[in-house]
């Protein structure tokens, strides 16, 4: 097992370099440089000013030199400085956005697990019942509804008409003047709509997967055996079937790791949440190469790491694979 992990980890490095190379090429294929945006259409900007800016960012050097310089710095874990006018460090920029994105994603995922698993189990054990069909439609509606549409409707209902929930942002204006308890409550109030909406969209995938796993497990021989032994249906389902159906679901956790840092730019835009989605989108649009590359590298590391965890999870969880290794 250990040597398998070691082999995968070592393989990750060339893969990572490959990903960065491809990303670098793709982002540079898009026409336009960050310096163009700052200086064009500006009556007061001169060509000389633009050239000065280009030199400052190192954009006047040939592409492979730029890439090599970036890679060298990356090896030292130096992600460089963003091309935006305040020239913030890329790590600071990403670090400022990452926590809130991760928080919302984790909360949303937790909610999905909490709701989707019971739905999946119950649907499977009561296949084709009203519950099964009703929840099927419900979760697919969640998947099918354009997020921004539903978000605005809920904002109008809960924010404007009823006044129960804040409309956008992460905290109220008078946050600093609230007691710690109220501050906590304020944060939660601001997160309710985003997390709910985010979870609603993801319910479909998880609950359907759980359902089909459960359906498959319930038809296995050992379940029939358990029933034949006279065990109560409850024990059969929750003690035996569920455990086995749940295992592949747990390995999905590993595959979900990269999506933890991903944000939807539409979602964040509607809720005025300063997250990774907006950062990424704005960086691509303004050709802020260092930030784009930084985000992609972190994402790639997490994806590869997540895949590895998922594979290890499969191996550990499934005794058949574990035994085979011996």
């Amino acid at each position: 097992m250990l040597e398998y992990i070691a082999k995968r980890l070592i393989l990750m490095i060339p893969l990572l370099v490959g990903i960065t190379l491809v990303s670098f090429v793709v982002i540079h294929l898009a026409p336009g440089k960050p310096t163009d945006l700052a200086t064009m259409m500006n009556p007061k900007a001169s060509l000389e000013a633009k050239q000065r800016l280009e030199e400052l960012y190192g954009l006047d050097k040939p592409l492979h030199v730029q890439y090599w310089n970036w890679l060298k710095r990356l090896a030292k874990l130096d992600f460089g400085r963003s091309f935006s006018p305040d020239r913030e460090l890329v790590l600071t920029k990403i670090g400022g956005r990452l926590p809130i994105t991760i928080l919302i994603n984790v909360l949303s995922m937790a909610l999905i697990f909490l709701v989707a698993i019971p739905i999946g189990v119950y649907s499977a054990t009561h296949q084709n019942s009203l519950f099964d069909r009703g929840t099927t439609v419900f979760v697919f509606v969640g998947f099918a509804t354009p997020t921004f549409w539903l978000a605005l409707l809920l904002m109008i209902l809960f924010g404007v008409h009823l006044g129960w929930l804040p409309i956008s942002g992460l905290k109220s204006l008078n946050y600093d003047q609230l007691s710690p308890l109220k501050q906590f409550g304020d944060r939660i109030a601001h997160l309710i709509l985003p997390v709910l909406l985010s979870a609603f969209g993801g319910l479909a995938g998880m609950s359907r997967y759980m359902r089909s796993n459960m359906l498959e497990v319930v038809r296995q021989d050992y379940i029939t055996t358990a029933r034949a032994k006279g065990l109560s249906e409850r024990t059969v389902i929750y003690k035996h079937a569920l455990r086995n159906a749940l295992m592949p679901v747990i390995t999905i956790l590993g595959l979900s790791v990269p999506s933890l840092i991903g944000g939807s730019v539409i979602f964040e835009s509607i809720f005025a949440i300063p997250g990774m989605g907006q950062l990424f989108y704005a960086s691509v649009m303004s050709r802020d190469y260092p930030t784009v590359m930084g985000g992609l590298v972190i994402g790639a590391v997490l994806t590869l790491g997540g895949n590895l965890l998922a594979d290890i999870g499969y191996a550990l969880a499934d005794p058949r694979i574990r035994e085979a290794r011996r």
């Binding site: 099918a144 605005l152 109008i156 038809r219 990269p258 989108y281 649009m285 784009v292 992609l296």
Partner: protein, 282 residues
């Protein structure tokens, strides 16, 4: 080979699944409306009339008008063509690429498999969105480029499914028999194994169409969807966003259309999956 039996069984089970039938009805209606668009639409969808900006539903305009006074019903009807095209071209492309890579990886195994799977990993590391943005920036955001990009970034799931099927199927007797008879690799892959491996692909395809329609509406929201004046449900919905409390018709109708269509495809896809899976025989 017991193909006739398999199909009859499949149809029987599908017909019993009411939700899937409802989904199928939606899909068929979509086809009908798109084909008949030129005859169904009461107005030219691009006709601007500044004197009837943002009018509510009326006899003249059953679905109201948009900010340029264009008839929303006509735009919705023509917009169904975009939804259809996006679904089919994008997903068709993704499916074909996925089948190719999955089949090759599953059939040949070994280093070919490892290489292709690493390539899949590479592609998965790219947020599809980033690629779409980059491509839109390079090329004009025409409907074709968008579809190609969605297709080129979405084949990985299909590849994995097909590969899994091939891994199981390639050691079956009928394959060994075909090989013994001297059939070429290509013939074995495409004529023998593939038809049996298509079941999960069909499911993935119907689900993929749903996803593609949603992606189109997301791109329209960001302003990088189809070019004006082409109507799409996504861009009508986006036009309605800023005036959601005033022009509710601009949000309700395309929103419902997207919802019902995506729901339909999903239910149909799920129904097909349930009907094909031998393990789920009730």
């Amino acid at each position: 080979m017991n193909r006739p039996g398999l199909y009859a069984d499949f149809w029987r089970r599908l017909r019993r699944n009411r939700l899937a039938l409802a989904g199928g009805l939606v899909v068929v209606s979509l086809f009908v409306v798109s084909f008949l668009a030129p005859w169904l639409a009461p107005y030219d969808p691009a006709y601007i009339d500044v004197s009837s900006v943002l009018e509510g539903p009326s006899k003249a305009h059953p679905f109201g008008t948009d900010p340029l006074g264009r008839d929303v019903l006509s735009r919705m009807i023509w917009g169904s063509r975009i939804s259809l095209k996006v679904g089919f071209v994008a997903v068709g492309l993704a499916t074909m690429i996925g089948i190719f890579f999955g089949a090759v990886a599953g059939y040949y195994g070994d280093w070919v498999d490892a290489l292709i799977m690493r390539f899949v990993d590479l592609m998965l590391c790219f947020p599809a969105f980033f690629l779409i943005l980059a491509v839109i920036a390079i090329l004009e955001p025409s409907i074709w480029n968008i579809m190609i990009v969605i297709g080129v970034t979405g084949w990985m799931g299909v590849a994995r499914l097909v590969r899994a099927e091939f891994l199981t199927l390639k050691n079956r007797e009928f394959v060994l028999a075909a090989r013994a008879l001297g059939a070429s690799d290509r013939r074995i892959i495409f004529a023998h194994i593939l038809p049996n491996a298509l079941a999960p692909v069909l499911v993935a395809a119907t689900l993929g169409v749903a996803g593609a329609i949603l992606t189109e509406s997301a791109l329209s929201f960001l302003g990088i969807g189809v070019q004006p004046p082409t109507p799409s449900w996504g861009n009508i919905l986006t036009e309605g966003k800023d005036n959601i409390s005033l022009a509710w018709w601009l949000s309700l109708y395309p929103g419902l259309a997207i919802l019902v269509t995506v729901l339909g495809y999903n239910l149909l896809g799920e129904g097909i999956r349930d009907s094909l899976d031998p393990r789920l025989r009730v």
